[in-house]
């Protein structure tokens, strides 16, 4: 109890520290100069209608590269970690029985979900969404498969190759930007096209496709790794 | 300083006088002590007889080189000490070799013989010898502290370490003697003197009842004879040192005889009146009252 009390005092202290942030937050009435620059120059420089995408893929594309990398190594670590764990247990998986409704629904829904995911990342530069969102949607489809058909096996090799191809693709895009355009991850080595059309914004759609595939496959790989351990707990 | 055959003869003369005087003192002092016990005591010339007899012993043994050299060291120490002292004040003849070194030399040279003797005794392999040496060294180191303080006090008083100068400063009557002008240093010195003479209460080094006679247990015959020579010379040298430091030195042999006799007598009197200290007791005692006198002597300079 005393310990909890102390922790409470600690937390109150911490609240007091960060309350300095909260009470000085007054909202904003206009964009700051940086955001204004993006709003004004973004459409012409990058050619993406979705300014968030412009920021994510081009202006702060390097962050995104890092982000993808994080997901990548997280998947790699989880895969390694849980693989070594499985290696020394040869017990067969004891699988729950799933309901027929779920199975049937999944048959119906999964292709749709995959398609939706693809749509989201292909249109990332135009509409809300993008590679991450699309990839995540695809992963929900995978999740559904896992829930509906626990016995199903994913092709690890395929996932791995997909991950690699998309990852290398992203990097190659970046290098192409450096070589052909003004800098690493610059999208302007492909024609910017007309603002608002599907084939616009230079390399952004391609990058987003890579990201979508990559995120989808990485999340799939994580889910798969976690799934294969479900009988352990 | 010219140094010829004449000087050597004078040195030998000093040595001869002191040796005889020492032997006679050795005879008289026990007699005085015996009188305290209402005995007649030994004859005054008994030390001569003992000396002759020991030299005349026919057989002797030796335990080794160092055993052989021990008495040599001892007697060298005694003779050296005597010769480094100005024996008769104002006499160019009996100033002997005091031009070679000052009071410091004399104080340190005392130990030359002690150490050599200790080594000789050590080689005899007799445990009692070693015990005696251990006791002797313990005791002698303890008395060194008050002695040094007293000596420093005197040296500071006269601003010199030259014994002749110290004596010179005391000329002109009893009131100029250090014992009067610097009584605390005198007291410290006279108390340590008791210890250095090896009489009761500080005679545990020899302690005949428990460790036969300490260091010289194994010494006999001629070795003992040489040691006896030292026994005669060494105390007199010490007496002369104390006389020079405290009692105005001596301008002639008779004065020397008288003064040293009474200084010696002081240790005899104390000796017959007190029982024996253990070593740790005497060590503590020297670091008590005499040390206090020494400190006061320093403070009063």
């Amino acid at each position: 109890m005393i310990k909890k009390g102390l922790l409470l005092i600690l937390l109150v202290g911490f609240v007091a520290v960060i309350s300095g942030l909260l009470i000085n937050f007054t909202g904003s009435n206009e964009l700051n100069p940086l955001a204004s620059y993006y709003a004004e120059k973004g459409p012409t420089e990058v050619g993406a209608a979705n300014l968030v995408t412009a920021v994510v893929i081009t202006y702060r594309g390097f962050d995104t590269l890092g982000e993808v990398t994080i997901l990548f190594i997280a998947a790699a670590i989880v895969g390694f970690f849980l693989k070594t764990m499985n290696a020394d247990t040869n017990r067969p998986l004891r699988l729950r029985k799933t309901s027929e409704i779920l199975e049937t629904a999944s048959t119906l829904l999964v292709p749709t979900i995959f398609m939706l995911g693809a749509y989201i990342f292909v249109n990332g530069h135009l509409t809300p969404g993008g590679g991450f969102q699309g990839g995540a949607v695809i992963a929900t489809g995978v999740m559904m498969i896992i829930l509906a058909r626990p016995a199903s096996q994913f092709n690890h090799k395929l996932i791995s190759v997909l991950e690699s191809i998309s990852g290398i693709g992203f990097v190659v895009m970046g290098v192409l930007g450096l070589v052909l355009a003004s800098g690493f991850l610059n999208n302007a080595f492909l024609p910017l096209g007309k603002l608002g059309s599907l084939l616009s914004a230079g390399a952004i759609p391609i990058i987003y496709v890579f990201i979508g595939i990559k995120v989808g496959s990485e999340l799939t790989s994580i889910l798969d790794s976690l799934k294969e351990n479900q009988n352990e707990i | 300083m010219e140094f010829g055959i004449k000087q050597i003869l004078y040195l030998l003369l000093t040595l001869f006088i002191v040796l005889n005087y020492g032997l006679i003192l050795q005879g008289i002092m026990p007699k005085i002590a015996a009188r305290v016990g209402r005995r007649y005591g030994i004859r005054w010339y008994q030390p001569y007889l003992d000396l002759i007899k020991n030299h005349a012993k026919r057989s002797k043994i030796t335990h080794g080189v160092m055993y052989y050299l021990g008495p040599v060291f001892r007697l060298t120490g005694g003779i050296g000490l005597l010769l480094f002292l100005p024996v008769i004040y104002g006499s160019p003849v009996f100033g002997n070799l005091s031009f070679a070194g000052d009071l410091t030399l004399v104080l340190f040279f005392q130990f030359f013989g002690v150490l050599g003797m200790a080594l000789g005794a050590g080689e005899s392999g007799h445990p009692h010898s070693a015990i005696g040496v251990s006791r002797g060294l313990s005791q002698v180191t303890a008395l060194e502290l008050p002695l040094t303080l007293g000596v420093i006090s005197i040296a500071m008083q006269y601003h010199t370490l030259n014994i002749s100068d110290i004596v010179a400063a005391q000329q002109g009557g009893v009131m100029n003697w250090t014992i009067v002008t610097n009584p605390f240093a005198g007291a410290a010195l006279m108390l340590t003197f008791l210890g250095s003479m090896g009489r009761a209460p500080f005679d545990v080094v020899m302690a005949p009842q428990e460790i036969p006679i300490g260091p010289p247990t194994e010494y006999h015959s001629g070795f003992l004879g040489v040691l006896q020579l030292n026994r005669a010379i060494f105390p007199v040298a010490k007496l002369i040192l104390f006389m020079n430091l405290l009692y105005g030195g001596a301008t002639s042999w008779p004065e020397l005889f008288i003064k040293t006799f009474f200084i010696y007598l002081w240790s005899v009197f104390v000796g017959v009146a007190f029982p024996r200290f253990r070593v740790d007791q005497s060590v503590r005692w020297f670091l008590g009252v005499p040390l206090l006198f020494g400190i006061i002597a320093i403070l009063l300079i």
Binding site: - | A34, A56, K57, R58, S59, I213, E218
Partner: protein
């Protein structure tokens, strides 16, 4: 001191080599005593005088007579005035007083002490026990005639002799020395084999060298 200390043994040197130890041989000098001839008579006379007047007695009370020797140091008898002094170590002593009967066991110690004294040395034997066994004449464990074992210079008869008698004995000894007859040590050396044989006859467990230097 146990007998085992005298047995041969092997110890290891620091380098690990065994060393044979034979105590009797290794610890003790095994030379025989020598006869020391007197020097020129005229010197010898003077030296004998000094020897006679400087009698250092070994303080070793071997028997009941020891109690008669103490009074000699007291004011009443005061042997010091005759040049008689007590020394605690045989090395420095010249007179050995055998104060009464000697058991076999003590004899061994007496022999050792006597041999450790330096030539010239004198023996005074007190009481009838040293002469013929006295009241212990039929004891299995005392010796009867001291001069079978040591050269005795002066016997003082009595049981026990009074201190005055002992003083008289000393006077006699002085006379003998002055006359040059105090050659017990040389006698012992000359007849060493005879004395040793006698000693060994009575001392069964002879565990010391023949001559204790």
């Amino acid at each position: 001191m146990s007998k085992s200390d005298l047995e041969k043994r092997t110890v290891m040197s620091p380098d690990g080599e065994p060393i044979e130890i034979n105590p009797l041989q290794d610890y003790f000098c095994d030379a025989r005593p020598k006869v020391h001839e007197p020097v020129l008579p005229i010197f010898e006379k003077f030296l004998n005088w000094a020897r006679s007047e400087s009698l250092w007695v070994l303080g070793f009370g071997t028997g009941c007579g020891a109690i008669e020797m103490r009074p000699l140091m007291t004011p009443r008898f005061d042997a010091y005035r005759f040049g008689i002094q007590w020394r605690p170590t045989p090395r420095q002593s010249s007179v050995f007083i055998i104060s009464g009967y000697l058991s076999v066991k003590t004899l061994k110690r007496v022999i050792r002490s006597y041999e450790q004294m330096q030539n010239p040395k004198f023996v005074i034997a007190l009481g009838s026990c040293t002469i013929n066994g006295g009241m212990y004449w039929d004891s299995y464990n005392t010796i009867k005639r001291l001069d079978h074992y040591l050269p005795v210079d002066v016997y003082i008869a009595g049981c026990m002799p009074r201190p005055e008698a002992i003083l008289a004995g000393f006077e006699k000894l002085k006379e003998l020395i002055r006359e040059g007859k105090g050659e017990g040590a040389n006698l012992y050396a000359q007849n060493f084999d005879w004395y040793k044989a006698n000693q060994k006859k009575i001392i069964k467990d002879w565990d010391m060298p023949d001559y204790n230097w």
